[in-house]
């Protein structure tokens, strides 16, 4: 989706038309027609801003250079100086800065559709594992119960990782929502301070639409996470029931501390034990020798010492020789 946001002119005198011709840049899907000019020409050395107008101009310059954090700091300082003449324009540009910050965050975040699909896939895999456990419980065959137990654990691991991914995505989306909410407030404030600023009102509407879309995505992820959590709980209960039915000597290692998947088997699978099949792809068989070579390749150097200088003490360089 492409929408146009207009950046307000910061120039207090002329040059608007010229600036509008040259300063036209794009931030993600948004075209920013920047008609921003400053009081100083680019060739002059940048002096430290002092007045609210200076801070405003510096902030607008940083916005043009896409240095968003600095732009935000400058514009906020300009606002905090409480100059009624500068405030509406500073607030307007601050809205742009915050929208761009949110967009940047969103770009780096995992796609909500991918994360949701991952969670749904983990849930369906969990449902299959659940079904297998129930069948094994009914058959009361030890082998099938152990197999179902291992599959269940694998499914729970998938659910855990899917939930972690959703949680991470939700955190980022929450940050984006915060930025865009603040951006909405900025545009609305700019329109409130300057009733003639129709661009601010238009931008607020656009941001509103984006926020609505973002909230929809967040809700979808939350629903997927709830479904995954529910499946994880059901699976946990079934696994616990199954543990009670499997004799201790046939129990897979790590089963008594079945709380979390990673701590269950710190030394990996024991001989004779088998991990449940992965959700997709095939397991690669590997010999113990190959495994040993791989592990040696990753050995840490904690026990290696740095070489000493040798038996003889080193001689210092001649201090009287010429320096170059």
């Amino acid at each position: 989706m492409s929408a146009k946001l207009k950046v307000k002119n910061s120039k207090w005198t002329g040059r608007i038309a010229l600036a509008a011709l040259f300063l036209n840049f794009t931030l993600l899907t948004f075209n920013l027609d920047a008609e921003v000019a400053t009081n100083s020409t680019p060739t002059q050395p940048e002096r430290a801003p002092e007045t609210p107008r200076d801070f405003y101009n510096a902030g607008t310059r940083k916005l043009q250079e896409n240095k968003l954090r600095e732009a935000e700091a400058y514009l906020e300082t300009s606002l905090a100086r409480q100059d009624g003449a500068v405030q509406p324009a500073a607030l307007y540009n601050l809205g742009h800065v915050r929208f761009a910050q949110g967009s940047e965050l969103l770009e780096k975040a995992p796609q909500s559709s991918r994360v949701t699909a991952g969670a749904q896939s983990a849930v369906s895999y969990g449902a299959a594992a659940l079904q297998e456990i129930e069948t094994a419980q009914q058959s009361r065959q030890l082998d099938s119960m152990v197999r179902a137990y291992l599959h269940g654990r694998g499914a729970r691991k998938d659910l855990n990782s899917a939930m972690k991914a959703i949680r991470r995505a939700l955190e980022t989306y929450g940050e984006v929502l915060g930025k865009w909410n603040r951006c909405l407030g900025d545009f609305q404030g700019a329109a409130e301070l300057n009733l003639a600023n129709h661009k601010a009102r238009g931008n607020a509407d656009i941001v509103c639409r984006h926020i609505a879309k973002l909230i929809d995505q967040i809700r979808m992820m939350q629903q997927a996470m709830m479904a995954a959590a529910q499946m994880q709980q059901e699976l946990g209960e079934k696994l616990q029931q199954l543990r009670g039915q499997i004799p201790d000597d046939a129990m897979p290692p790590g089963a008594p501390g079945d709380g979390e998947e990673e701590d269950e088997m710190p030394n990996g699978l024991q001989p004779g034990m088998q991990e449940g099949p992965s959700k997709q792809g095939e397991e690669q068989s590997i010999s113990p020798e190959e495994a040993g070579q791989i592990l040696n390749g990753f050995r840490l150097d904690g026990d290696r010492r740095l070489p000493m200088g040798g038996d003889q003490p080193g001689k210092p360089d001649d201090p009287n020789r010429k320096t170059w």
């Binding site: 905090a80 603040r182 909405l184 407030g185 409130e192």
Partner: protein
């Protein structure tokens, strides 16, 4: 003669009007006094909301330090720190020598970890006398000085040194009063944040960015107004709050 006859033969309408006004004034005074005691009774019986309501009305009719102190106590018992501190500050505004108000303020600020307003030297000087006393002293000293300069000439008195000395003293007292009068003027901009967790806004807009939350009872100095918002300066910084969230020590 006409004037005399007019005085001696008063218009019955005027007399009735004057009598009605006297009755009204007496009624107000009586009802105000009655209100004060009603508030006292309510406070003693533990009905603090009623006491606060009665004393609040009473203080608007007859601002007095005692009423403000009682109002502050009722508000404090109700857990409304902002209005309590405001009431005691108003008590000090009316009577700067009131030790009870000063003590209550000290206790409240210590208990609620609140700042006291920072006063300039001329504001501190304005606390040496009640507000009306400063106005009275300044007025008397000025007019006395003017009188001692002009009256001997008008009445053709013989010029004497004591007249000059008194005129100089009058002018000096008047000039000494000026910083305090200015201090009273600037002190009238002091206010107290009434509600707890009052948002200090960056801009005077509905959806403004909140810079910090101010505690109830925090002193602030209002600088200017815009619409429904006041620009205030506190010990934490400058920002905007809604008009209803700040109670001025000297209400307009």
């Amino acid at each position: 003669m006409k004037a005399c006859s007019h005085i001696s033969q008063r218009d019955p309408f005027v007399v009735a009007l004057q009598a009605a006004m006297l009755l009204l004034v007496a009624q107000i005074g009586f009802s105000a006094g009655g209100d004060f005691h009603a508030g006292l009774n309510a406070y003693r019986s533990g009905d603090c909301p009623r006491a606060a309501e009665v004393w609040s009305k009473h203080s608007q009719l007859q601002p007095a330090s005692g009423t403000f102190i009682n109002l502050g106590l009722a508000e404090w018992h109700l857990g409304r720190r902002g209005p309590a501190v405001l009431a005691w500050e108003r008590a000090l505004w009316v009577d700067p020598f009131n030790a009870d108000a000063r003590e209550n303020l000290r206790f409240a600020r210590k208990a609620a970890q609140l700042e006291a307003p920072t006063l300039t030297w001329f504001e501190a000087a304005s606390l040496w006398l009640p507000i009306n006393a400063w106005a009275l002293v300044a007025g008397i000293s000025l007019w006395a000085a003017v009188a001692f300069v002009t009256l001997p000439r008008i009445l053709r008195w013989r010029r004497a040194n004591w007249q000059q000395a008194l005129a100089a003293a009058g002018f000096a007292i008047f000039l000494l009063c000026l910083p305090s009068l200015y201090g009273i003027n600037t002190r009238s901009r002091l206010g107290i944040v009434l509600e707890k967790e009052t948002e200090l806004r960056l801009t005077p807009t509905r959806s403004a960015q909140t810079m910090m939350l101010l505690p109830a009872g925090q002193p602030a100095r209002w600088e200017r107004a815009r619409g429904e918002y006041l620009l205030i300066r506190t010990g934490y910084g400058q920002g905007w709050i809604e008009r209803s969230q700040l109670g001025l020590v000297c209400p307009k």
